[in-house]
Symmetry: C2
Subunit: 200 residues, 2 copies
DNA sequence: TTGTTGCGAAACTGACCCGTATCGAAATTA
DNA sequence: TAATTTCGATACGGGTCAGTTTCGCAACAA
């Protein structure tokens, strides 16, 4: 991506291998995606999985949390495009993207971590929220606010509460719903259960 | 509790100390309540916290999971009494008991575990669900079914979906709501956001 | 070519933990 | 009193892992 013009002069010596760096991040995400919790995640396992010496990891990250922070930050899935026609359609689109992301083992395990380990790794969670959660929350907030402005939704509803209900219902299903995949019309059913109570 | 009549003849030798047993369970719940995950929970830490030799633990439980299963099973909080007058009041009562239980650090951490470690400790989770979760789900299911029968609620709503929405919203707040305690009227606000869409 | 830095592999120290065994003391039955 | 079982403490062998160091080789700049 960058051209041959080093903004700062390249230091002497062998440059750090980008390939190794990517392999380390991939290995980290792989292990997390297989269900390894942050506490169980060991640098040695990551190094071995990445085919890399431990030195190469410690040269880049001073500890496990820093590495995981960087690894999770690479997981930004794109936000879904919203049609912007009706509140119902946009909410279904947003929730359905949560559903399909929950179907991928990596995203699924990252969501698990966000739910379970947020108390113990606050720095990690802060970063993860800024990168992955907040943009989605903002999108949903916009949809609801637009619905209120356009008169589709009542003006006395609590925006944040409505968001919590929608997200909470989907999260509930990803954790305790049927093990073999969530039904395709789940997002639609959630929205249609809540929306009549919010509609003007 | 039991009188001096041993149903089976007491075996010779020093009897097992009930005090030690309770101390072990307490120490286990303490550590879990402090945020220690199941994987990090070590028998040595439990023994040390309980002021007990490791032998005394291994004499009673053959592994960590057995011990945690027994410890969690002692946590059965009583179900709230339902007035049975209106669906709204009963749902608020049920959700509010979730809210207040989430305020206690022990119950809170147990809920965390139920959310995060259910994949890795299925036996533990099965037991925990039977003891703690399913009775509450059944109570909520009854309230909603009664509401449908009485005509308070529409007959075409999905009972399980309504439950998922209510529980999910409360769980969402316990995980990501304000850190310093949930607002007292939270249960009411959740119910009042959903109920208009379900009412007949 | 020389000096510098990164590479993977391996060894190392120092924790922590598991599950078992052993100890002397205490509590109980026969 | 003798036999039995539990008690807490401690030690053990075996394992995993963190983080550091050392090695010989590779890749780069000057």
């Amino acid at each position: 991506m960058t051209i041959q013009e080093p903004a700062t002069a390249r230091p002497a010596g062998r440059p750090r291998s980008e390939k190794a760096e990517k392999a380390i991040i991939e290995a980290t995400l792989d292990l997390i995606g297989e269900g390894t919790g942050i506490a169980e995640l060991s640098i040695e396992a990551i190094a071995s999985r990445a085919g890399v010496g431990k030195t190469t990891i410690y040269r880049r990250w001073s500890n496990k949390e820093d590495l995981v922070v960087d690894a999770l930050a690479t997981l930004q899935a794109p936000l879904p495009r919203l049609a912007g026609v009706s509140v119902r359609d946009d909410l279904i689109t947003l929730l359905d993207s949560m559903r399909s992301e929950a179907g991928q083992s990596r995203t699924r395990c990252v969501m698990n971590i966000a739910i379970s380990e947020s108390d113990r790794y606050p720095r990690l969670m802060e970063r993860f929220f800024n990168v992955a959660v907040e943009p989605r929350r903002q999108a949903m907030r916009d949809v609801i606010r637009r619905g209120i402005a356009s008169g589709e939704l009542r003006s006395d509803i609590e925006v944040e509460m409505s968001m919590a209900i929608l997200s909470g219902a989907m999260i509930w299903h990803t954790k305790w719903g049927p093990a073999n995949g969530l039904p395709a019309d789940l997002a639609e059913r959630i929205v249609d259960h809540l929306l009549p109570g919010l509609a003007a």
